[in-house]
């Protein structure tokens, strides 16, 4: 019944690894915020979307200028088609303009998203505890999504911005080579984010974050400015999420508010809870499992529809994610790969002393 002959396994593998890299970055970001620092960020979709919106703005406004053209209004009905054509042409022929655009998008997106995360956290945590922040981020994310959806000058409201070509198309005509290079770029960025967050949590800073997570009142009594510490880690986490947002937009070739609904946040939560709170390798494992699960259910949905089965299999994915979440919280709340107890090299120093 299920026909696999029309699946291109090489292309699928490339696509899966790329998506895995992007989701890994989101999972690491949330794991740093919630797993390590205990801040329940239910606004992950917001920070990812800020990265994507920034990419849309940079591709439509800045890239033409870098390539020496006038920026055409990407939203106006008269210039829409020519603006799209211009973007595509530049992205396929002018590597410098393309890569500079991507670099600017990354830097600007990280800064904007980090700042939004920092300010929202600082204001909210001054008033109430961290679960209030969770709600503010959840609702705030949806409000900002609806605003962007309705306000044309950012990403042309609900029509979005298309023609966000992958940057490596500018240096090769071989489509597959382009996607492979993009996959490598995504995985390298994911590796850098992983390495950075690992270094962060295995330092006195990681110890500080864990202490704030375990008992914020005591941490405050031991001289730590809890609100500021939480706001700062939200800056870092939100900036990381924005990197995923930029890559998300580049991978999809399109920026649309439809992709940043609450289910994206929930997918990332399942990854982190499944993989292991506070363990960055766990975040990678969770991202891998959920990426596969998403793809399998998507393929199954298409296959089933083609063979005439009257079942919307995409919804099965939500049921599966819910079941995974429940099973993990009930039977293995620490996740598949639990957090390591020690933080810094200090333990090794005392161990060597003890063995002398």
């Amino acid at each position: 019944m299920i026909d696999l002959s029309n699946i291109d396994f090489v292309a699928t593998t490339i696509a899966l690894l790329t998506i895995f890299g992007i989701w890994s970055i989101m999972a690491i970001s949330l794991n740093l915020e919630y797993g390590v620092a205990g801040i329940p960020n239910f606004g992950q979709a917001l920070f990812v979307s800020l990265g994507a919106y920034t990419t849309g703005v940079m591709y439509s406004r800045v890239m033409p200028l870098l390539a020496g053209h006038d920026a055409l209004d990407p939203c106006d009905a008269d210039t829409l088609a020519s603006a799209l054509q211009l973007r595509s042409d530049i992205a396929q022929s002018m590597p410098v303009a393309t890569f500079v655009t991507v670099a600017i998008a990354l830097v600007v997106a990280m800064f904007i998203s980090g700042l939004v995360g920092y300010v929202m956290s600082l204001i909210t945590l001054r008033l109430k505890e961290e679960w209030f922040l969770a709600l503010v981020l959840l609702v705030g994310g949806e409000i900002i999504r609806i605003l962007v959806r309705g306000y044309k000058p950012i990403i042309c409201a609900n029509s979005g911005i298309a023609g966000i070509a992958q940057p490596f198309r500018s240096i090769t005509d071989d489509t597959q080579l382009g996607t492979i290079l993009f996959m490598v770029m995504v995985l390298v960025l994911a590796l850098i984010v992983y390495w950075y967050s690992e270094r962060l949590i295995r330092s006195p800073y990681g110890r500080l974050l864990k202490a704030v997570r375990e008992n914020d009142a005591v941490a405050q009594s031991l001289g730590k400015d809890v609100v500021r510490i939480r706001a700062r880690v939200m800056f870092i986490g939100s900036a990381i999420a924005a990197v995923a947002g930029v890559l998300f937009a580049l991978n999809l070739g399109l920026v649309s508010t439809n992709d940043f609904v609450v289910t994206l946040t929930l997918d990332v939560w399942v990854m982190v809870v499944l993989g292991g709170l506070g363990n960055m390798r766990g975040a990678l494992l969770g991202a891998a499992v959920i990426t596969l699960l998403r793809r399998v259910t998507q393929v199954a949905a298409i296959q089933l529809n083609q063979s005439g089965v009257d079942l919307e299999f995409n919804f099965v994915r939500f049921i599966l994610l819910g079941i995974i979440l429940l099973i993990m919280l009930r039977y293995r709340p620490q996740g598949l790969l639990p957090e390591s107890r020690r933080t810094t090299v200090a333990h090794d120093a005392l161990l060597t002393d003890a063995n002398k």
């Binding site: 330092s203 006195p204 800073y205 864990k210 009594s221």
Partner: protein
Amino acid sequence: MPLQNVWLDTMLELKDVRKDFDGLRAVDGVSFGVDEGQIVGLIGPNGSGKSTLLSLIAGTIEPTGGQIFFAGEDITHLPANEIFQRGLVRGFQDPSLFFQMTLLDNTLLPIKNQRGEQARYAPWRRFWQQEEHDHSQKAGNMLEQVGLREHFDKSASDLSGGQMKLLEIARSLMGDPRMLLLDEPAAGVAPKLAHEIFAYIAMLRRDAGVTFLIVEHRLELLFNIVDYVYVMHNGKRLAHGTPDEIIDNDEVREVYFGD
């Protein structure tokens, strides 16, 4: 009641401190002073406002009225972390350790001005490795002093109740306190260990010059080491004096000992 004489070397001074919780007056106009290098006891029946008073001093909760001075500075409305930075450190009634963290991590956390605690330095070990090494030696010695060094790699949740109390005192000391507020350091601790804890407190005062304000129900332990005692009842200061004066005070006997 008259204010106690205020000396130049007054470490902690409370002036008419009040705290209301939804109309309930938990602390009702308490004034007293603790001189530098003293060990002062704070006693009273359950619900008399002792723990609330410690929280007010440490900045965990904000007073409704009155003023609190530490080393001459008005700290009434400072947040808890700022008060800690000035050298006034509190312990908690229930062990309030970071239970999922190791003893060593618990002990290292309160150290002030750690470069490695700043996010911009944290990923680069060369900025903080030496500092962290020095701190861990200091923490190791502190754990040694309270007899917990061999357990440094265990989770704090693996300790016995008495060991948790010891670890909490050790952790408080890592912040280089000028004054420690302790809330029932001997509660739920085996008698032998309780004696050791109080002997340790006396030694810290003698050798390190730390000032103490101690809430404790086990008066037989407390009265061995304190210089002065304040008695609280219904949110007010009922009496004050040396341990001998307090034992002979009829009012105190009535509310506290129940005879």
